[in-house]
Symmetry: D2
């Protein structure tokens, strides 16, 4: 069973390759009567698109989202929604070398081992371009969450070892690197510039904040909200680590430090990152993802060819210096997709009108 679907109720199935006809997604389980038009996708597709930053890959795609099904007279119908983004500017020539050799740190080797035959042009199925379909699906997820007031924002916390020190959420949109700190933004641009000159690449850390998420999302014991978020985020290419709330730091706290005291005005701290026992607690959800440096670099590397002979590779394809910031909208999208799925799932379990102990009062929308 291949794993191209995600979600149980709000279920997305992505398809497409970097240098094929295009990339797309079928969304099954979206409720009817939600306004949706190609305009809804413009902002997020633009944020994901290469070319926003001078150091991004020079490939330029219009990335217009076509709605192939599931929308009638501007409203969703409950039928599966198909979104398609055509590939327009694909130059496959630099990838011909991959017919012979594997890029270290890339999926060339494992795809070869698993499938024997695969589309290596531009990374094919394992290209970062695959995230365009996720971003498009995330827009629809956002429309489902919108009446609940849920807001999902991600930003660059760290890039090439430079960390944002001040968090000015209003600056995120302005920063070419989606970084909330103007000073850090500048320093990040410097390290990126240096890395590009060296033919090298950089990693980073992104942080995601979810505001106004109702309490009650998450289905223990396996489909806990944090477990599904971890999978969603880790399934994005280049992500090597994910943590919620205090995350790895929590390992060093004592219980008395890490437990968030509960008060009539809410939680006094948020070490939990908004999730307790796998269920949202109504507080802000906070998570972080670590991205490795992009494996495609133009410095010479030791590798093998398909016949297992040693080879040297200096790869000259177009590629970004860092996955961040273009991965920011993909992160937001995956978080929204998880939340939309869990919102709809919660409707089958939470607050149904069976016997209601007197102590139980509905205080949240969820």
């Amino acid at each position: 069973m291949a794993g191209s679907s995600f979600g149980k109720i709000f279920k997305i199935t992505t398809f497409g390759e970097s240098h094929g006809a295009g990339v797309g997604v079928v969304i099954d389980g979206c409720p009817p009567r939600i306004s949706l038009s190609p305009e809804n996708f413009v902002r997020d597709m633009a944020r994901r698109r290469p070319g926003r930053h001078i150091l991004d890959t020079p490939r330029s795609e219009g990335d217009q989202v076509e709605i192939l099904s599931g929308v009638f007279e501007g409203l969703t119908t409950g039928a599966p929604i198909t979104l398609f983004i055509r590939n327009q500017d694909a130059d496959s020539r630099p990838y011909e070398i991959l017919r012979q050799v594997f890029r270290p740190g890339h999926a060339d080797y494992t795809y070869f081992k698993k499938y024997g035959h695969f589309d290596f042009r531009g990374g094919g199925r394992y290209s970062a371009r695959e995230t365009a379909a996720r971003v498009a699906a995330g827009v629809v997820a956002g429309e489902i969450l919108s009446p609940l007031g849920v807001k999902v924002v991600a930003y660059t916390l760290e890039l090439g070892g430079v960390r944002a020190e001040s968090i000015d959420m209003d600056y995120v949109e302005k920063s070419p690197l989606c970084c909330p700190d103007p000073v850090a933004t500048e320093r990040m641009e410097e390290v990126m510039s240096r890395a590009r000159k060296e033919g090298d690449s950089l990693g980073g850390i992104a942080e995601v904040h979810v505001r106004s998420c109702p309490a009650g999302f998450g289905e223990p014991v396996f489909d806990k909200l944090d477990a599904d978020l971890a999978k969603a985020v880790m399934s994005i290419g280049t992500v090597k680590g994910v943590e919620v709330g205090a995350g790895f730091e929590a390992a060093r706290f004592k219980g008395s430090e890490n437990n968030d005291p509960i008060t009539p005005d809410g939680f006094r701290s948020n070490r939990a990152g908004g999730i307790l026992g796998g269920i949202s607690n109504g507080d802000e959800i906070i998570l972080r993802a670590a991205m490795k440096p992009i494996p495609s670099i133009s410095r010479e590397q030791d590798t093998l060819d398909r016949k297992r002979n040693p080879a040297k590779l200096k790869f000259e394809g177009r590629h970004d210096v860092a996955a961040i910031p273009r991965i920011i909208p993909a992160l937001e999208a995956m978080v929204k997709i998880v939340l939309a799925d869990h919102y709809l799932r919660s409707r089958t379990m939470n607050n149904l009108s069976y016997k209601n102990p007197e102590t139980f009062k509905e205080e949240t929308r969820c």
Copy 2:
């Protein structure tokens, strides 16, 4: 849809509460003709059982696994296997207070918000006792993987801020804390002892190594091996972070440092942690999980009662000082469950005898 099932082919469904009849698991999709008897479970159940370490919860359960279905004359039959572990030593009295107030940092609050009515005795469904069913299922997963030579070992890397400095894998079994470093083990015991006296608790970090995993496990783009491992591990109570290979450190490497060069003798380094593009590459799989300190502490904490009035709680139930080391076998179990599932999934996709490009040679068992 509640989330009590995990896996797509090797699919487990756990059930049971800490102070109910018992905990158990139904395993669907296990191949026939695998030897299985109650003895297979003894070692791992003993490792998970409280009482192993002097600072563990004084609760003592025999934790014998009954096989209720799916095994005939000592061999699996292909029918669902049901494993049941009865609760024997459950004292629910200290939990009566939870009828009124929520323990900070625990799932009491979110279960109340989501379900209105829930079994709070001993943590009910969200008790660490739930992991007993996972450990039992992990034993069966291990039997499926066994002919492939796959070995899964987890150990305590850090506890209460004390980190293992030397890694002696032979010592892991001997250490009462599953720690590969005898000196660190001793210091960890000291900090645990101090925390217990203070009525407090500690977190930690565990590391898991998988040896001899064939290349080719993992189903992109969502059911990548690392994505499924992240979900599996994050679904264990108290886990707040997970990372693969270099993990969060990878964010600070350059591509030229992070890419593992490929040689005829294998990968020269293993920053990838054995997974590239979501597919195992044949190298050792390495991941780490961060556990928060157990939220049940006996120090006084600020909280609310069910009517939203402020309350003070000093909770006296039996509990561990640290989730580690008892969580070690649960971690191993979840990793084995993911691998068994992906092994069986790979059989539907990898190396089927359709058209085989001449360059493709089967070099791995997978």
Copy 3:
């Protein structure tokens, strides 16, 4: 992937063998705060139990349902509910012969081919006893549907070629064969008596009526309500055919005869059997299932042994003359399970408060 689970939100996983420890079911996705106790199961388990009719198998089981998880203080908690029915009166001796030879018309042969090793005692996993778990799960499904007013009733329409001519629904409960026609009941008993003397068995047809099902259940294009009902019913042992509404007769009608005219008072006829385009239309749902004669007979039959040598078999195990009427509660159960699942699924899709065209008014509960 073995197929022991059914349903997407209200999801049941059955387990157990006829002569093992018992049979049972884990129900995941049941909403919280539904009253449930062992008493709820008594009536339906008694209807399914052998011994009700003089011609039924002499095996006698108490068939008491133990609730192993998911219920606290008499109410469901939202956690998985495990129901277990112990085997008490299992005599495996007559089945020893099945170590060597296959019963014609039975699953012995295909289980051998598929699994190599299987529990043949009393039919093991493919015994009619497996339906006890379905009946138990059906009781819980019924509790979910109960506030909607949904009523599911099945009866014996035909047995051994004798067909009910008059339909007196009040008589169904009184008839030892669940037949709504007293005269037909008597004639059915005669043919059963004769078949038993001849060491033979009989088939039959059951009809199921669902009253007060809201419009809007069913998820096209694959999880149509009739498609899921067809699978649910066909998955019961001995069922060889299923039809909805006019069923096979519809093939001979013209459109002008088969289309049910719609009036302000509802549909003027019900050829559709309550389902249009895979979605319930608010009218009575009607379906029929055809059961083959039970394959275990005591007349001599030609067969093979496991080494493919010809053999003669005169099988003397305990068995019913006809699957009907004991299959009636299993049929009702499967229909209730499908409806409960689709009710919960409909909550994620129907009538969500997004943009609501003015012509759309909510007129049903669904």
Copy 4:
């Protein structure tokens, strides 16, 4: 959760509407290295296409299948395969009336009740055009089964009350109605011609034969092969009944008549229709589906408008007189899709090299 996906390993997700951009399917789980090009689809798409028979709907679509993803250099890659069939000749004008009134016997009413807003043009999502995507997916399923020698053939057994008396399988391809009896074909054409003149429509029965299916396909107790086939077939629009082997007739046989004796040369009869206990037995698989007359007719009918006022409807849209024979390829496709899925599923369960009782010998390919 909407139900647009089918299959567990070979999983298809269809999308699209009759008068939207087109219809299509994403196939996830198809093994790599299978030859696939647009030419593979030509024959089956032509068989399904309107215009083949003079009495078919005059709508004419090229029905060319575009491969949007998953194929590289003529071979599948293991990535999801997307097939898209553009709509070219859609005239939505006759459907404007459906903005107000419901066609009796059609899904207009239930879609309105469920979704509030839906695409009624040409039947939108519930149009027979939806089967084009199934037929395309069936072609890929056929390629997976092809090395096993599996052959799936469906034909018209009965139409408008006329039944095929002689079965000449070679004639099926020649008959414009896919009927194996030349005389019956002629009489069927007469009744169709008469029905068209009367503005009426006709139903029918199709029979499907599967040759050379290995023993061992099917996953009890819910995903039995016959249960999945029943769902697959019942999910096709207009199907109201399905039966396997002797089907409803089996209800009238005695066990001694219905059990197929087993001999060294195979089964002496095939009342079982090739499936025992939900698992293929190696014999020919036989099933039948009953189709109701198409609900769209041009005779005046009583109905309601969307405000629940009585209305008269004489519907003049383009439509077939009978769903058969155009549904024949869709039936074959769904059967192939079920078999491909179960073939791949069987690889995770059947004949794995664990402990092998000496009596077990592999005699089938499966």
